[in-house]
């Protein structure tokens, strides 16, 4: 079937529109950093922020409702139990969730301390309300982000309609689709965990990746070679696209964790002033750590499924379900490294920074597979259509 050029044109226009709107959203996220409403937790009132500066200030990303990031912080790892217990006046051991836990779901316990009475944990306010109260910059950023996602989805869908297949048959299409997944997944994370403080970083990375796709590896809409003419293309590559988009978000979170953790360590060592600068406004290392972990455990089964689906397809197309083709090998390496990350988080001495290095190594191998192996190393997966 031939390519519908009119639809392909529409797709291209929407992709550019999405790129522009995302860029504006990033500006708005940055504006929130620069001029946004002062955050409650930054005020002395949030007493127990002492020593947990990063946690204290950042938690505030949510604006007035300190509860916001609590969803992250107050999650019930035993180690973080302290956070939930702030009601008793004790800060968490490492400030996990620190200030933000108090007003959150878990905090109710303390309110009832001393009396019988009826004290039930409160559910969090709605995400939209929280966004509204976070100030005009956040409102604008979230709105632009939503508009950008809409344009992006339209662009991907029309591309698919134009070429009569799943629109991820070459590298350009793959990158546009995975950034779409990353944007949507981040939208979910933002609402679920009130994490707009991360917007400038995650969406900034999305803008860079999408911009590079448009300029460096742009490929006009075209049909597929026989090896790709299979419904397994939709299944295998969709899963890989999804997982890559999710791991992309995890990688940005991991980098932010390392920055925030370094800052926390410097503050603890007295080398940096608490509460200053950009970094002070992102969530605490403990929160970022948890959020990264949740992102990875969302992506890992999807990646696993993608590898299995790829094996089934390889069996259909090439007569073996696993042949250590370079791309298969690197998909395996990526899987093993992310598995190592999951194990590292459960191993004494490997939690924290080291685990995050492993996670970033996983994303590095994924990126290497996508950008180097598929393009430059000859194998059965040489479909990138770049160059």
């Amino acid at each position: 079937m031939s390519v519908n050029q009119a639809l392909a044109q529409v797709s291209g226009d929407f992709m550019i529109a999405a790129l522009i709107v995302y860029s504006l959203a990033v500006l708005a996220f940055a504006g929130d950093f620069a001029f946004g409403r002062p955050r409650r937790a930054a005020r002395p009132a949030a007493g127990n922020a002492a020593g947990t500066t990063a946690a204290g200030t950042l938690a505030a990303a949510a604006g007035d409702q300190a509860a916001e990031l609590a969803a992250v912080g107050a999650a019930p790892a035993a180690a973080a139990a302290g956070a939930g217990m702030t009601a008793d006046g004790a800060a968490g051991p490492d400030g996990a969730g620190g200030a933000c836990g108090a007003a959150g779901a878990a905090g109710a316990a303390g309110n009832g301390a001393g009396g019988s009475g009826t004290v039930l944990p409160e559910r969090r306010e709605s995400a939209l309300r929280a966004i509204w109260e976070a100030g005009p910059w956040v409102r604008a950023a979230v709105t632009l982000n939503a508009v950008g996602i809409l344009a992006h989805v339209v662009a991907v869908v029309t591309r698919g309609l134009a070429v009569h297949r799943a629109p991820w048959g070459n590298m350009y299409e793959f990158v546009t689709a995975l950034t779409c997944v990353a944007a949507i997944f981040f939208g979910y994370v933002m609402l679920r965990y009130r994490a707009w403080a991360l917007g400038v970083f995650v969406m900034g990375a999305v803008v860079i990746a999408l911009g590079l796709a448009e300029t460096v590896i742009y490929t006009a809409a075209g049909p597929l070679v026989p090896a790709l003419q299979s419904y397994w293309l939709s299944i295998h590559v969709t899963a890989m696209t999804l997982a890559t988009g999710v791991f992309f978000v995890a990688a940005v979170l991991g980098i932010m964790y390392l920055a925030a953790e370094r800052y926390r360590a410097r503050v603890a060592a007295g080398k940096a002033q608490p509460g200053n600068g950009l970094i002070a406004r992102i969530p605490s290392p403990a929160q970022l750590d948890k959020l990264t972990y949740r992102t990875v455990i969302f992506g890992f089964p999807v990646w696993t499924f993608g590898v299995i689906a790829g094996a089934i397809w390889a069996d259909q197309a090439w007569g073996r379900y696993w042949g250590w083709d370079p791309v298969e090998t690197w998909a395996f390496i990526t899987w093993v490294v992310y598995a190592a990350y999951l194990h590292a988080r459960a191993t004494a001495g490997w939690r924290g920074r080291r685990a995050h290095y492993i996670q970033l190594l996983g994303f590095a191998s994924l990126t290497f597979n996508m950008l180097v192996v598929q393009v430059f190393i000859t194998g059965m997966h040489s479909y990138a259509g770049v160059g």
Partner: protein
Amino acid sequence: MADVHTPRSTSAGTGATGSVTRGTAPEPPHGGPAQPPVPPAGWLRWGWRQLTSMRTALVLLFLLALGSVPGSVLPQQGSNPSGVQQYFTAHPALAPWLNRLGLFNVFAAPWFAAIYLLLFTSLVGCVVPRTFRLAGAARTPPPRAPRNLRRLPHSASYESALPPAAAIEAAAAVLGRQRFRLRRSGAGDPTSWVSAEKGYLREAGNLLFHLALLGVLVSIAVGGLFGYKANKLLVEGQGFSDTTAALDEFHPGRLVSGSDLAPFSLTLKSFSASYFTSGESRGQPSSFDAHITYSASPGAPSHPYDLRINRPLSVDSTKVYLLGHGYAPVFTVTDARGRVSYEQATPFIPANTGTMLSEGVVKDPNASLGFMGVFVPTAVMVGGTLESAFPAPDAPVVSLIGYSGNLGMNSGVPQSVYQLDTNGMTKIAGSPHLLLPGQTWRLPGGRGSITFTGYRQWVTLAITYDPGQVPALVCGMLALGGLLLSFMVRRRRVFVRAAASGAGSAVTVGGLARTDASGGFEDEFASLAAELATAGPAGGSAGGAAGRPAGGSAGEKLEPSNQSETGA
């Protein structure tokens, strides 16, 4: 990594392997005199603990990833033998050393096997004890409720109109309906309480994941032992039976012999390839169709089948795949006396898969003639050089370089059918010579002639049998299922205590998620607490199992707080 042995006390929120205290090994006591300083059993136990520790597993995972890297960077014997040859030619000093390290066959190398076997041993050493522990936990009732539930990460309190024992029964009914495992305060307890626990599937899923990986490894081994792979090149019009003699390449598993092959036969009727003729993808293939007939066994009826990429043929659990294609120009060679000494389609190998410019040789020992040829499907002259403009045979031309003399085919040294040994031959004048279909080149000196009568197409087929395939798929899906369970299920405990307060009782609820990988227990606890608070006398009757409502008064006022959320 100085202190290796750390009894691991991972608590909540741990990773894929959850809380693992690995490896108390059942070591058989050795008979020797137990010397106090270093008992051998102690050594062994220590070694086993090292192997099954999480750190070792982590290091092995790293080694596995690292060890795979050369397998993707260097050409591998299994997938790219000609690449290995080229590497040896290009790096004569380095290549033998790499070869000694097994780097051209990484995934079959002993050191690679050592890594994954150690990893799986470590895995077994970890998973088996955990399985017993889970089985034990599933038979043990939840722990007694702690004294002060407000100290737990999640807690709530409410007042009930029921007396303590009945309030606890009502709460137990609610928890029981949600399929928590329960433990109630006994008769001797001064206070009333109920403990509830749920989410054992998390650990079960985790164990399933690891055991299923083991299953994948076993399936691969089964495939390697009992399966086989073979290749066959077929020109249009030719057929073959699946016997070792007829196959071009045959790679049997360790426990496979030629008689195990499925007795089918197959004929290639015709092959067609089509290509995009316009746009950026001009010249790229759009479809390949191999029209074949096959019969499952000698004498069985023959069936037509359209073999395509992504559409293999399945006969008796053996599969036949379309792998590659090419052109086989048909030549007729006559010797010096004018007799036809060679007449057949000669497969040429694509030198450029984009344009299908193909190379091959014609060997005619009877006429003492040999030709090195190039087949050009769509010939164009670019600056005096013959090139192919398009992969389809729109303007086919062959270019031949002729040789006469001894082909060396009787020397006993095996020769490739795609190479001409010109050592004992002399080049014929007038080479290279271009021929269009139907044209004949009369060789100078009355040596004979060669006619390019036309061309046919050939395909390469892969014939594979892998009995480990289905088990590997099943294990893969089980692993995925286990992974999802271990990430999505949280193991959590909820405790309820009631103390007399006025006519009714004051009830406290505490919650603790032991593992909560994907989060969300706080929301679950909030709903649960609200439900418990409203499950007064009215709620008990619904449960049937435990509720024995004592009074008729509506217990709670207090709207469940989860309704306070407003969709602004």
